[in-house]
């Protein structure tokens, strides 16, 4: 049947209209379901077969061999987590000159304030959606009235419980996060649903295991982000996600609410960028531990409050820069007395409270001026740039924002990552690079060789710290880091 025939018989029908306007007929089936109430007879026929697809789309996993994973309870863990948090906060409090607003971010990460709020919101019928990595478009989640929380965890205390199900030889981030689930703790337990992108092998298989405990959705991520077909594919994934979210929350994602959500997140990224920009000129205003506190509070916090608080923080820090006595190198959130060595931190995610290497670095005469971590600057830096505010235009902009600027090592090529590193080295006049490699994260480990060699050609020293969440190698790391800083200091003096 020719499309123009449909148009003749029905001008109201969505499907017919779509067929008429769309160039890409393959998108048809995704575009159609759940949207059309008004069908012409022909479309209704078409809709029947589409319904079938729809049902298979509802759950990502077929639960043919569902297993039961028994949850653990241990009251000691909660206590241990609290202790760890307290210990690290104590270390942070040793620094002078921290902006006063910072205590708010500490509270979000260490108290039950946000958790209680979320419990309340949940009781009021809002959905809480857990995410992993930085590929899940939060805009879509906000648009349909749900709340996203990022579940990547940095706690050592939960790992041993996770190891009863997961193998010992996988990256600690995955074990730590799963530990929270198996213990039934914190944000993980509140989530109505988890969305996991297929980044590394660990995350992929975590998805399958989690699926027997709670609803899990998969976001299929291409391995090569720059291919045209990868982009098309990813856009399709995002579109499917939108539709699934609509169904899950029973709230339609419209042009309006999507636009609102995009604007809200844009606002968040912009205030962060402003802060980051300020750090470029005055690297000692905020140390890395505090910067990560700020960023990681945004994983959980109410977004509007976070924006407001960060605005406050910005103003507070900015006013310091106007005061000339603060501009000499003696003023710093770290107790630095000489001209500091400027470091760039890159590599595997460092997530609260895994501040092991940061605590060591920031008690030397070096300061981390910038980072390239998915748990750091990368998670708040990129903005969604929309030029066509139709739903389709927004989806496209979102898809591209989450895919193209990403420098995750889960993609085949690392060129973009190297570009970004070189750019930051230039922008922040970095002296040397610290490369954090989590034990058993092969991706970062493999990329090290190439990055090291390229940076060496540019005359940038690089130190790889291969470690995990356990505190047992702290002394060795200390020697390694201090020796590296001594070497750089010596080099600077010779200059």
């Amino acid at each position: 049947m020719k499309p123009n025939f449909w148009i003749k018989i029905c001008s109201k029908c969505f499907l017919c209209k779509y067929v008429r306007t769309s160039k890409d007929k393959t998108k048809l089936k995704y575009k159609v379901f759940n949207k059309i109430k008004l069908f012409c007879p022909i479309c209704r026929a078409a809709n029947y077969s589409l319904k079938k697809i729809e049902t298979t789309h509802k759950i990502d996993f077929e639960q043919r061999y569902k297993i039961e994973i028994i949850k653990k309870t241990d009251i000691n863990v909660v206590q241990n987590i609290k202790e760890t948090n307290k210990k690290i906060l104590q270390l942070l409090h040793k620094n002078h000159n921290r902006p006063s607003t910072i205590s708010y971010y500490e509270e979000i990460l260490t108290s039950s304030l946000r958790l209680d709020e979320l419990k309340e919101t949940k009781r009021n019928g809002k959905k809480i959606i857990g995410t992993f990595c930085i590929f899940v478009p939060e805009e879509l989640i906000y648009a349909c009235g749900a709340i996203p929380v990022r579940l990547c965890a940095g706690s050592y205390d939960t790992i041993s419980y996770a190891e009863e199900v997961l193998p010992r030889d996988i990256c600690p981030l995955i074990k730590s996060s799963f530990g929270f689930k198996i213990l039934g703790l914190s944000y993980f337990e509140l989530c109505d649903l988890v969305i996991i992108p297929t980044t590394c092998d660990g995350k992929k298989k975590l998805a399958e295991i989690l699926n027997d405990m709670m609803p899990v959705w998969i976001l299929e991520l291409p391995n090569r982000k720059n291919l045209t077909k990868a982009k098309t594919f990813w856009l399709e994934e995002i579109r499917t996600l939108k539709e699934k979210l609509e169904k899950f929350t029973k709230i339609k994602i419209t042009k309006e609410n999507l636009k609102q959500a995009i604007k809200l997140l844009h606002q968040r990224q912009m205030i962060f960028r402003k802060l980051y920009q300020l750090k470029k000129t005055y690297p000692l205003l905020l140390n890395e531990r505090d910067t990560l506190l700020i960023i990681q509070a945004s994983f959980y916090d109410d977004i509007k409050r976070w924006i407001e608080k960060t605005n406050q923080l910005y103003n507070e820090v900015y006013s310091l820069t106007l005061d000339s006595k603060h501009l000499n190198s003696k003023f710093s959130t770290q107790n630095i007395t000489t001209q500091p060595i400027k470091l760039l931190l890159t590599g595997a995610p460092i997530i609260w409270p895994n501040y092991k290497i940061l605590n060591i670095i920031e008690t030397t005469q070096a300061t981390i001026v910038a980072d390239e971590l998915c748990s750091g600057v990368r998670s708040l830096y990129d903005t969604t740039e929309v030029d066509d505010w139709s739903t389709e235009g927004c989806l496209r902009a979102l898809a591209y924002k989450y895919l193209l600027p990403s420098t995750c090592p889960c993609f085949t090529e690392s060129n973009d990552r190297i570009d970004k590193l070189l750019q930051s080295i230039k922008d922040f006049s970095v002296d040397a690079v610290i490369y954090h490699s989590l034990r058993l994260c092969q991706l970062y480990d493999i990329e090290f060789y190439k990055i090291k060699t390229v940076l060496k050609n540019y005359g940038i020293p690089i130190l790889k710290l291969h470690t995990d969440y356990s505190p047992e190698d702290t002394e060795q790391l200390k020697t390694r880091i201090e020796a590296f800083i001594e070497m750089l200091k010596n080099k600077n003096q010779l200059k």
Binding site: Q476, E482, A483, E486, M487, L494
Partner: protein, 268 residues
């Protein structure tokens, strides 16, 4: 001007006291070594006292004290702490100047870790690698093996040269290697052959670390493990070149610390 360097290692604590003669020359006045034990602080104090009493000086005569090594932060009377890597480079550079050689790569085989340090022409550290947190390929490994076979580490050299059919130790893990050696003894293998196997296996580990940095010529071998002739020979055989070892390799780091002490004092 008299300064001291204290190297508080995981196994032994070393102290070197030096006097600066002129712009480039130092005289080693005294040195002392003792086991670190479980109280690094106490052992550091005692070792220093020991070294001082040999020359009839007291702690007040020391212009600057630098502590280094794994326990560097445990003492309270030092002026500064510096890592063993920087100190080792300093000590090596001075010693080598005295020998009239220019070492570019240092292998420091310590009790709990092995380090490879790469130097530039002026003796500055340009790169370094350290072993991971396990004890494979370190002095600790040697100690365990020496206990199992019942032969003193100092005699490893002689046994090494007398080996006829060296065995191969496959495990790098200290614990597994230990049981491997026990079973080799049970099989009736000659001690000479087993010892050569052990030295070769450590040398292999060190070689792997050497590959991680740009290996430059003139290799200097120090740390407690360098006293072991067997390992030195194994390394020379594998690298096919001569390796330099100082007379008292375990004092290089403490010496370096003392030298940095004089430099720091002058800059005050």
């Amino acid at each position: 001007m008299i300064t001291a360097g204290i190297d508080i290692g995981s196994v032994t604590t070393k102290v070197v006291i030096i006097e600066k003669l002129n712009s480039k020359n130092y005289k080693i006045l005294s040195q002392a070594i003792s086991p670190t034990g479980c109280e690094p602080k106490k052992s550091a104090e005692e070792t220093l006292k020991n070294a001082l009493s040999k020359i009839g000086l007291s702690i007040k005569d020391l212009r600057y004290v630098i502590s280094t090594g794994y326990g560097r932060r445990t003492i309270e009377f030092g002026n500064e702490t510096i890592t063993e890597i920087t100190c080792c480079a300093k000590g090596t550079f001075w010693l080598c100047n005295n020998f009239g050689i220019k070492a570019k790569t240092i292998i420091d085989l310590g009790g709990q870790d092995t380090k490879i340090i790469s130097l530039d022409d002026e003796g500055n550290v340009v790169d370094f690698v350290m072993n991971d947190k396990c004890a494979a390929g370190t002095g600790r490994f040697l100690e365990v093996m020496s206990n199992v076979i019942g032969i003193n580490l100092d005699d490893f050299g002689t046994y090494y040269t007398n080996a006829k059919e060296p065995v191969k130790i496959n495990s790098t893990c200290t614990v597994f290697a230990e049981s491997e050696v026990i079973s080799l003894i049970a099989q009736g293998k000659q001690k000479e052959d087993i010892i050569k196997g052990i030295c070769d296996s450590i040398a292999e580990r060190i070689l792997n670390m050497l590959k991680q940095i740009e290996e430059k010529d003139v290799i200097f071998f120090c740390g407690g493990g360098a006293k072991n002739e067997g390992i030195k020979r194994a390394l020379e055989e594998k690298l096919k070149k001569e390796i330099y070892t100082p007379q008292e390799p375990q004092f290089v780091v403490a010496l370096g610390a003392a030298i940095i002490g004089t430099e720091r004092y002058q800059n005050l």
